[in-house]
Symmetry: C2
Subunit: 339 residues, 2 copies
DNA sequence: TTGAAAGCGCTAACAT
DNA sequence: ATGTTAGCGCTTTCAA
């Protein structure tokens, strides 16, 4: 790899001049610039981003970190796409960290990211009291939270109205005549799990249906958990007639149990999932789901981070995006209030 | 952020000594080491990975780049997981680059990656004559290819026997009595697309079924393309009675068209997809698919890269993993040779 | 066992 | 309009 020095020598100028043409500073002789550019071409010069970052951290090092809890979750994949699209167009690279909802792994990654002198972070905190994330403020490294807010810190934040999304889904179920609606939750320490439960309860309440403990099951937020929890639900004495599943992976797991038990949707059991997926309509039957604008979340978060990097002092902003209930066929039609 | 200098001052030693305890060099006074460690703790010291990388590129900079053509494809997500799991345990960070099968984007990323002085790359080349990748050899940066080999270069390579996987799938279709089997392909310049077509043709040949041009459709490798191509296929004069789809996204698209046309699987049309997905069994009906060990591919590739970083001179190795036909319900049973 | 100092590739004063 | 130079935080001789 050739360096500034090599280019300078070849072009017969000082390294400062080369640096100037690279960052196209004003006041450069036209002919000089040309000569330098030629030298760069012929040497196949590519600037060292790390040297640049090491030298001047004020200015863009063009690298950010993204911490997601689960890369196998299509939701986060879409978020990542949104982040990547925005960042690429600003010459930023992304270090992807998949911390698997494991706080030790999270800390490992955080330290490494700091060591890389990233310009900023986009993070889905493990939970709302995640001091490891809060600590970033002390280190003065810009970050924006996605999906999950921090309780003791005022930060940039992009998420969705989980309570409302859940509320609408459960109301829809209730209006369709379902009464024994179960909620298959993810990890209760994750804010979204609880906000969605809140919406669920709010809907029940509104329709004067008593909340029943045995109809809510907590697990981790993965497919296997959804599968197991659903099995529990469908084999206990009081069986639900409808399932509200806490995220897309849980939904998939639930679907598997339902299929294995030979149950029909919606004849035997109805289901609405939180998170829509590109293939939701190809499921059996097409799945009714609460759609989060995942790509948009990512894109907005990236925008916010970029702004903050450029202008560290600006006030924090919280962006709440809307969910959308995608009504398909996993629920029996009809507004019959009688079950 | 505190630096070596800060720690050195606090511990009352030179920065060289601090560096030594960090890299636990031999010959350090026990008491000194302790003092330094204390200082590091109290200052919350985290080493600058970029300074390290800048200084000594021979030794591990602990950063690699991964270039995938499509992060929305669950196959690559699994590959990424495999890479990440291995690399994390070796203190490596991953810069994720999603080049979207766009060669300009690919070049952009490649340059940036070189600028980051990554220790190595894991790449799925855009096609088998991708000179941008081959050029990495000149720059002396280690890389291993996944999923797609390079034709003019001898490299480390991890992939699957695509020909065989396709062959088995199509044979299975043939044995089940299907005769007009279509192949919904991805981009023909991608080696896997062609290898899978090869397997398809080989099977046809074996069963004395003439290859028919109008039963093979090429598109890009995304869901929409699968959807469109399938629509073409199912509305043309000679309709196929079975579909062999070139990758998971294409499969999903095909499924969508089939559903929209109100066709039943396998009664009206059979389908086998290349690539299995975690939710294949929850599809309607459970999808028969050619499973690639994606996670394993990633893991092996990471291993290979790590080895090569440690021992640049070792001979190239090519790892060919086996596919597995996951027989489920998207195909009509029976060995009837009569259609 | 420890320290001093050079230098990795770059930017940003400061000179000229 | 261009050159000189001092670092950024680290590793690594070379000395002591």
């Amino acid at each position: 790899m050739s360096s500034l020095k090599d280019v300078a020598k070849k072009a017969g100028v000082s390294i400062a001049t080369v640096s100037r043409v690279i960052n196209n500073a004003p006041n450069i002789n036209h002919e000089t610039r040309h000569r330098v550019q030629l030298a760069m071409k012929s040497l196949d010069y590519r600037p060292s981003r790390i040297a640049k970052r090491l030298r001047s951290k004020a200015v863009s090092g063009n690298l950010i970190g993204v911490m997601v809890p689960d890369i196998s979750n299509p939701f986060y994949v879409d978020v990542l796409s949104g982040i990547e699209d925005f960042m690429l167009s600003h010459d930023y690279l992304i270090i992807m960290c998949n911390f698997s909802q494991d706080e030790q792994k999270e800390q490992l990654y955080l330290d490494a990211l700091v060591g890389e002198s990233v310009d900023g972070l986009i993070v889905a905190p493990a939970h709302e009291r995640d001091e490891k994330i809060i600590a970033l403020e002390k280190d003065n490294i810009p970050f924006v939270c996605i999906d999950r807010g921090l309780i003791d810190a005022n930060t940039d934040l992009v998420l969705v109205d989980n309570d409302k999304g859940a509320y609408e889904a459960v109301c829809f179920l209730l209006e369709s005549g379902y009464k024994d609606i179960a909620y298959v939750s993810g990890l209760p320490q994750i804010p979204t799990s609880r906000q969605r439960e809140q919406g669920y309860r709010r809907a029940l309440n509104e329709y004067n249906i008593a909340f029943r403990k045995d109809l809510v099951k907590y697990g981790d937020s993965r497919m296997k958990s959804g599968k197991l929890l659903t099995l529990e639900l469908l084999t206990q004495k009081i069986k639900p007639d409808a399932l509200f599943t806490g995220n897309n992976l849980i939904t998939l797991g639930a679907l598997e149990t339902i299929a294995e038990m030979g149950l029909e949707i919606p004849a035997d059991i109805a289901i609405i999932g939180f998170d829509d997926m590109p293939w939701s309509s190809t499921l059996n039957p097409p799945l009714t789901a609460v759609r989060q604008p995942a790509y948009e979340i990512g894109r907005r978060a990236a925008e916010l981070l970029y702004q903050r990097i450029c202008e560290p002092g600006r006030p924090n902003v919280k962006i709440v995006l809307e969910t959308e209930l995608m009504i398909r066929k996993s629920t029996r039609p009809g507004k019959t209030k009688t079950k």
